[in-house]
Structures are given as structure tokens and as C-alpha cells.
Symmetry: C3
Subunit: 268 residues, 3 copies
């Protein structure tokens, strides 16, 4: 398959349909994920009141659940919005921030997976390992010890949860339980600023809003985001200027650039 | 009237008196609106605890109410602070973020307008249309369908609510129920980053803190903000660098630049 | 003493041990303080749920308590996390944002100081003056009237609370109740963006995570942060570009640069 051509076509769909991406997300990165959404041509809305999330998600093309600064009322809002999204067929993209770091984060992860069907779960190797019971170690929100066999872990977790799992890192590994793909786009500068994982999740949600095959959507999204990071890193003096450039490059990403720059490796 | 000269004089007042602007605002843009306040020479404070908002607003030159990420306790704090501001004669500037997108947002808007006197209401065409019952359509926090006759809608809503209404867009339309003014400053790059409407509201509040004629204050504010955006867009590669430059240009705005660059059109 | 050499050695420790810095902090600056933590080579985690703060702080090298946007549940979480940190010997660094501006902020400050042992208290002159009962005046979160004799106030408050007090300003003044030190690093551009005091507190916490002598840790931290600001200001056009550059310079700070650039003045 020509993954670059597919990613390019999806970007084109985003730019012509401007899907609304409903975020129930953490306080740290809200501004960045909203700006990433706008830069790619979609529309962000951040709404977490239990009084409105069911109605808001009804207008959305995808729902992001990111409990990075979780607390009980926020988790309730996530369950409410996610349940409604499942009823309506709106794809739910889940970012298990810090799962494994505290019991509360792990229990919340289990609850969300039990009560909701996720279209995609995107996390770092430690988070996915903890979520899969495959041994990841998380310190704060950082993966300290990842899983030894990410292709196996991604495939098994995807199969068990009937979802797509995306483990991001130097090489991103994605699986829908059958197919396994790798994405080699990306840049190490992404590790120098906060919220780059959260932004990856947001970009995955944007692509999920325009493509029913969620493995293809997530793979295309991570190629697009990683390529923007590669381009942003070129003229960057450090994390502050890299962060500015990342939004510039998401904004200037074109289907042609993406088709040419996508680096996807099929494993199975 | 020489609107440029008036705007210049108001900017001079801000720079010499450093008014405190009390924000009860949304989580997404808090950092940006605080930085916009500092860049113009005023002082921001973000405080939403019901335990302190009445006391805090007593020290303020203006109060911003921006329920972009609203929830019940925050709305209560807005009513408490706004009531006290009304008692003390502190101008209240209201940003009806996402009114029209959900029933909860619309009901909250109605409640705030019923319980409080607003000095200025600033929103996009969809939000003001929804608030006025004039037919705006809002998706998330974006105006999808604006009002057909913004001058009429602004004037009638202003008259009915005894306030100043500012509809921002390609041409901003402002009215106090009698006079109608247009502002042609601004730049389309403002649509590429989140919180630019919220920052416009903050700038309106800053100008309201130094000028009793709220139509003149709001008009001058939008000219100043729009001119800074025009200047920021010149040396910008995309939304990330535009955002940085916008703060730089607000900081370097001078009364002389503003006097020369203000483009206000009187309609009635 | 060669304060530059000491600061350099501490920076080296941070870069090799990557301490986790648990923040319970305000909504305005979360993104900036997380990015400052990453830029210096430490790991940030923002977690405020009462369900997890005791467990999270157990993995941390230091705890930041910054009630800039305080409300009752957040203050409870601070007391819980701080109590556990005190039990475990994890240093607690307190930023009394806006103490003196409202009764609620002042009462919260008194409560936190009564229930917790702070390793370092870092504030501006007005906040520390209000906390010490030495006459500071705070408007919003800004020091309007500082203390007349900062060396005396810092020393006495440090002695009374068995802590280190750091009053930041043009010249930072620090004391552990016996020694008094001044830091002349810094730049006036720090006053043009929000959260620069909060970032100073975060940097102090990072240095406290690697050095038991908290006066030395805090002094080294403020020298490092101030030096980064000096370097960032060189190629800056205004507050927006200064903010980006500040992260770049924290990231590129080296032990050698810090050793050469540290300007510490011993007073007693």
C-alpha cells in the first residue's frame, strides 16, 4: 500500500471538512492541543461540564479523552461523553496519561476501558505496558521502562479491547489486532517540550474524524505529526522555538509534502 | 471624530495607570490573556474561588467574564464577582464563548445577562446572533453562520441590554444602542490560533478600565488589538510564530502608531 | 565560596539524575512550568487529585505548592501532598502567589505554613512582606509595595519558620535564618510575561531535589534562571519572543556557562 498517498488524501479531507474535535483533556496542554487542531484545519472545543458534554459530543467528529490532570468529576464527564459518543458512532481516542504512575490513574484507565469502546488508544511505551499488564514503568507521566516487544503488546491489547493501539516512541508501533505498522517519522526534540504526546493524540483524533479504518487513520496521523516535527526541528534553537515552529509546520503541511515524507513500515 | 487620536490617548492612560484586570476565564487561554494584559501595560489576575472573587474585584479596574470552559461553580463565581462589580461601578466585560453550541452555554448566557449589567459584550457573529435570538449558528466555539445584519443586531441587543455590543470578524461592528461603529483593523491570521477572541475581550476590558464611554473604549481596544495583529502578521511564518509576534507587537504598540493606524468607520 | 562552581555542579546533577518535580500549581502557568522543568533536564508531573497526590509525591524529588488559582479542594490536596512530603523528606517549595491581595489568600498562606514544613518559600517582595507581617502590598499578584529591608525580613521569616526565604526582584535576597545571600542575575524582561515568578519557584524546586543545603540550592537555582533570562533577552524583540528564547536558553545552559555567569553576593 502507498501509505503516503493515503495520508495525503486524509489530510485533504480534514482541510475540506474542518471536523470539530471535542476534547476532555488536561489543564497543562489545552492551549497546545487546541492550536494543533486549528493548525491542521480542524476545529477544537474544550468542554468538560457534565451539563453539556453529551450535547457537545453530538456535534463532534471525534472525542479526545485525556485524563492527564484527572479528578473524579472529570472522569465522570469522560464516561458520560464517551458513552454518548459510542451510541452515536463518534470515534473516541484515549490517551492514558500517567497510567501506571499511581493506583488512581491505573484504576481510571481500567474503568474507562471497561465502560467505553475506544477507537484508538495512544500512549508511550510505559503507559501502554502498564495498561496491558505487560510491565511498563511510568514515573510521573514519563515512560521509564517500556515494553520489550511492542509489536506483540500492541497487537494483543488491540485484540483484547477491539481497538487500535498506538505506542509512540522513536519508532511508533500501531496495531488493530491483526495488522501491525510502524511509523518512522518524528524527531527527538518532541521529548523536550510538554504535551507532545497529547498533541499526537489530538492529531490521531482529527484523522479518525475523516476515516473509518482507524489503523490507517492513526498511522497517517502519526506520520503527519512526525513529519511536521522533523521540519520544525530544522530551524530551531531549542524547545521554545521548536514549539512555535511545530505549529507553523502543521499549518503549512500539504498533501504533497505528506505523501512524499510519510515513512510507514508494515510488519504483519 | 478622530478615533485614532482617542485610541492613542487611552493607550497612554493604560501605560501610566496599569489597571488591574480581574479575569474569571477559561482554562484554555488563561496564559495568553494574562500575557496580553501585561504586554499592553496592565496587570492581570486570574481568580475564581468564590471565597475571594468579591474582594479581588474590588481592587480591579475591570472584570472579564469568559465562560469558555464553564462549570457550575465557575458560573456561581462569575455571578458573585459580577454582582459586586456592578455595585462598585467596576465595568464587566462578557465573552459569550460558545453560546448557541449547547443548551447549557445558552442558559448560562441568559442567566449572566439577567443577573448582571455588562459594560460590553464581545463575541463572534454566531455567538452574538445566538445571544440576541437573531439566528447565529455556533459549532463548538466557532461561528458557523453569523447574523445577516450585524449593525442591526448589535444595535438592538445593545439597546435591549443597556450595554455595548461588539461583534468581531473581518470588520468589527460595535454599538451602544445609538451609535454604530466599524473597525477595519485585524488580520486573518487571528483565526489560526486559539484564544484570539478571548484576547480581544481582555483588551476591551483593559480599555474599559480607563474610559467611561464604553463604546469608545471597546472601539479603541479593537483597533489597537487589530493593528498589533496586522503588524505581527508581517514577519510571521505561521500560527506559532504569529502568536509570539502578537505579544511582541502589543508590547511595542505606541500611541503614535495607534493614532496613525486606527481604521474606524462611523455608520450612525 | 565559589558560588558559580557550586551552581555548575548542581546543574550537572540535575542533568544526570532527571528528578521528578511534582507540581500542585496554578492553571495559568502549568504549561510554562512543565516546559521549564523539561528544559533544565528534570521531569514534571502536574497532579492535584486528592485520590493520588500522596502516592505521586512519593516518587518525586521535590514538591511545588503554588496556589495562584486556589480553591478549597486544591488547598486540601496541597496539605495532603505536603504532609506526605514532610514525612518522606521530599523538599516542599512554596510560592505564596498573591498573598496579601485577599483574605482568602492570606489565610491559605498561614494555614500552609502552619501545617507544613517548607524547604523554601519564594515570592516577590510584596508577597513575602505580607506573609511575614512586614508590610508588603500586593495588587492582584503583583508586588506594589515591597519591604523596606529585605535582608532583615528574609532572615527573620526564615528563622521563625525554619525555612529558606527567597525574595525575588532586581536583586534576589535569600536567607536560611543565618546566612544572607544576594543574586544579581536576571533581566527586566522577566516582568513582561506571566508566570516568571512561578518558573523561578519551579527551578528552585529542581535544584532542591539534588542538594540538601536548601539555601545553596535556591541561590544556585535563581542564578541559573536569571542567567538564562539574561541570555534570552539578547536576541528578543518583545515578550512573546523572549518567552520562547527563555526555554531555549534553559535548555542550552551548561555547567560551564553557569559557573562563569553566576553573580552571587554574600551579605552575612
Amino acid at each position: 500500500m502507498n501509505y503516503g498517498a493515503i495520508a495525503a488524501e486524509l489530510l485533504d479531507r480534514i482541510r475540506s471538512t474542518h471536523p470539530l474535535i471535542h476534547h476532555i483533556t488536561n489543564w497543562v496542554v489545552m492551549n497546545d492541543t487546541a492550536n494543533a487542531t486549528l493548525a491542521l484545519g480542524a476545529l477544537p472545543v474544550m468542554a468538560h461540564a457534565r451539563e453539556e458534554v453529551k450535547e457537545m459530543v453530538g456535534a463532534a467528529g471525534a472525542l479526545v479523552l485525556n485524563p492527564g490532570t484527572l479528578f473524579p468529576e472529570l472522569v465522570e464527564a469522560m464516561v458520560m461523553a464517551g458513552t454518548r459518543a459510542n451510541e452515536l458512532g463518534v470515534p473516541v481516542v484515549y490517551d492514558p496519561v500517567g497510567v501506571g504512575a499511581t493506583r488512581y490513574r491505573s484504576q481510571t484507565g481500567e474503568r474507562l476501558l471497561k465502560e467505553l469502546h475506544m477507537a484508538v488508544i495512544r500512549g508511550n511505551s510505559g503507559e501502554i505496558g502498564a495498561l496491558a499488564g505487560a510491565g511498563g514503568v511510568v514515573r510521573g507521566v514519563e515512560s521509564v521502562e517500556g515494553v520489550a516487544h511492542p509489536q506483540v503488546v500492541a497487537r494483543e491489547l488491540a485484540l483484547r479491547r477491539a481497538t487500535v493501539v498506538a505506542i509512540t516512541g522513536k519508532r511508533d508501533i500501531l496495531s488493530d489486532g491483526k495488522r501491525v505498522l510502524g511509523v518512522d517519522n518524528g524527531h527527538e526534540m518532541l521529548k523536550t517540550i510538554t504535551g507532545t504526546g497529547c498533541m499526537a493524540t489530538t492529531v490521531v483524533a482529527i484523522f479518525c474524524a475523516v476515516e473509518p479504518d482507524k489503523l490507517i487513520a492513526a498511522t497517517s496521523a502519526l506520520a503527519c505529526y512526525g513529519l511536521a516535527a522533523e521540519r520544525a526541528a530544522r530551524a530551531t534553537r531549542g524547545p521554545g522555538s521548536f514549539r512555535s515552529s511545530l505549529f507553523d509546520e502543521l499549518y503549512h503541511m500539504t498533501p504533497a509534502l505528506l505523501e512524499k515524507g510519510t515513512r510507514v513500515v508494515p510488519f504483519a
